[in-house]
């Protein structure tokens, strides 16, 4: 469920578009420093993976289902800058090819799911990782906690955008309650799945988890 055209006013959408473009510029430069041409097919397959993982629906409450956002997952697996680039590419393809999310709302969706969900979520991951014992088992735990928190945080991004430029005169409290209520539940699914995915990758191919600082990877056991 990505924001379509017309829900948020044009000026606000343009403003967030500028924020998204600026963030993307920084992330693209950092990605180019860290990933060589060799890594482009790998980043692309991570994007395809996030896209496919988003298709796996899980039940939230009666009649409603949520799907993975994949922001923290991508950031932990390929690093925050590349994770942001990957999420941006996924959102552009969703909007351009699948009409999911408006073309003029692209900036809003990129800020919510890329900037808040992936980069912000990665920040949470590092905070939790620093607070837990230096073991490999802490990596999936920290990823799960960060993923759980990143989903309602991304939903709050929408609430903030709605407060600035929403085109409907609904009380903010109602929007906040509806968004937080559903997204805390989606966050539980996101956290559980992210934790198991990261645990699986850490167990079999530790070298692929690029978002983990080296000292943790070196000292853990």
């Amino acid at each position: 469920m990505h924001i379509p055209d017309g829900v948020i006013g044009a000026t606000t959408a343009a403003g967030f578009g500028a924020v998204a473009a600026g963030g993307f510029g920084i992330a693209a430069r950092r990605t180019r420093e860290h990933l060589s041409d060799r890594h482009i097919p790998l980043a692309a397959l991570t994007a395809a993976f996030v896209f496919a993982a988003q298709m796996v629906n899980f039940p939230v409450i009666a009649g409603m289902s949520g799907h993975l956002l994949g922001g923290v997952l991508a950031a932990v697996l390929v690093g925050p800058a590349a994770g942001f680039v990957v999420l941006t590419v996924v959102l552009i393809v969703q909007s351009l090819v699948f009409a999911d999310g408006g073309l003029t709302a692209l900036g809003l969706n990129i800020v919510n799911m890329g900037l808040i969900g992936a980069v912000g979520g990665y920040g949470l991951f590092r905070v939790v990782l620093a607070a837990t014992p230096r073991r490999f088992r802490s990596i999936p735990f920290a990823a799960a906690v960060a993923a759980f928190l990143a989903v309602p945080a991304a939903a709050m991004g929408f609430v903030g955008e709605f407060a600035i430029g929403g085109t409907a005169d609904v009380s903010l409290g109602a929007v906040l309650t509806a968004m937080l209520g559903t997204h805390v539940l989606i966050g539980i699914g996101e956290g559980v799945i992210t934790g198991f995915v990261v645990a699986g990758v850490v167990a079999s191919r530790r070298d692929l988890v690029l978002g983990v600082p080296e000292q943790v990877a070196a000292r853990g056991a």
Binding site: P4, D5, L208
Partner: protein, 242 residues
């Protein structure tokens, strides 16, 4: 999602089609909601594009289903917003807001549907490249759209395998196997990416793909500009008169 055809819209160079779609949607979003005539014009432009591209209503309808949650939320606005000053105790302001979201959302999504139905994803990537979108994006996107079907197929096989072992997607406990399956999916997909890169490098890949899609002619650009100018003039008149 692509639908094969040989219409003028299918032959339209992808970069022109993308630029026209974006220009059209921006004009739609900037139009004041009270200007019904302008939305009538946009709708007839969108329908003309659907007819020109020979897209059946069922196909378009199925693609527009992604909007359903937002249309339901928009439909509740006349009840939620106060005061009940319109027919049947609905709110006038709420009706306008619902109309605004539904009209702009539908027009924007229809424009995307026409674009994606008339151009295959690799051509769209070439179009973005020619519109000077950063190469990191187009390079990643190019591989992504080429391998997407493969990965999605892998997910489908995993789901069949899980279901045949008795997995039912109910409750939080059912998510652990989903997570484990996705973990092994990531490793499979990543290792495939490594093999793909090595295979490509050995065949001479040096960071760019050969371009596909029609080259833009002046007349193609003129047609695209005509569409955008028509929508922009309507949006300007609507903004001035309301």
């Amino acid at each position: 999602m692509y639908r094969h055809g040989a219409t003028p819209l299918h032959r339209w160079p992808p970069q022109v089609a993308i630029a026209t779609t974006v220009g059209f949607v921006i004009a739609v979003v900037l139009t004041p909601r009270e200007a019904m005539w302008a939305f009538g014009l946009y709708a007839s432009m969108a329908i003309a594009a659907l007819v020109l591209a020979r897209l059946p209503p069922g196909f378009v309808g199925a693609r527009l289903l992604v909007l359903a949650p937002f249309l339901i939320a928009a439909a509740s606005l006349p009840l939620l917003e106060g005061p009940p000053d319109a027919l049947w105790g609905l709110s006038r302001e709420g009706l306008w807001d619902a109309w605004n979201i539904a009209a702009k959302g539908m027009l924007g999504a229809t424009a995307s549907v026409v674009l994606a139905a008339t151009h295959e994803p690799p051509d769209l990537v070439t179009g973005l490249e020619r519109l000077r979108v950063p190469r990191v994006v187009t390079a990643i996107m190019g591989f992504m759209v080429r391998y997407l079907e493969l990965v999605v197929g892998e997910v489908a096989r995993m789901r069949v395998a899980m279901r045949s072992r008795g997995h039912r997607a109910r409750g939080v406990a059912a998510m652990a196997p989903v997570g484990r399956a996705l973990g092994s999916l990531f490793i499979r997909v990543y290792e495939r990416g490594e093999r793909v890169f090595l295979a490509m490098a050995s065949r001479g890949y040096r960071g760019t793909m050969p371009a596909s899609g029609a080259v833009a002619t002046a007349s193609a650009w003129a047609a695209g500009a005509g569409v955008v100018v028509l929508a922009a003039v309507a949006a300007t008149i609507a903004a001035v008169t309301t």
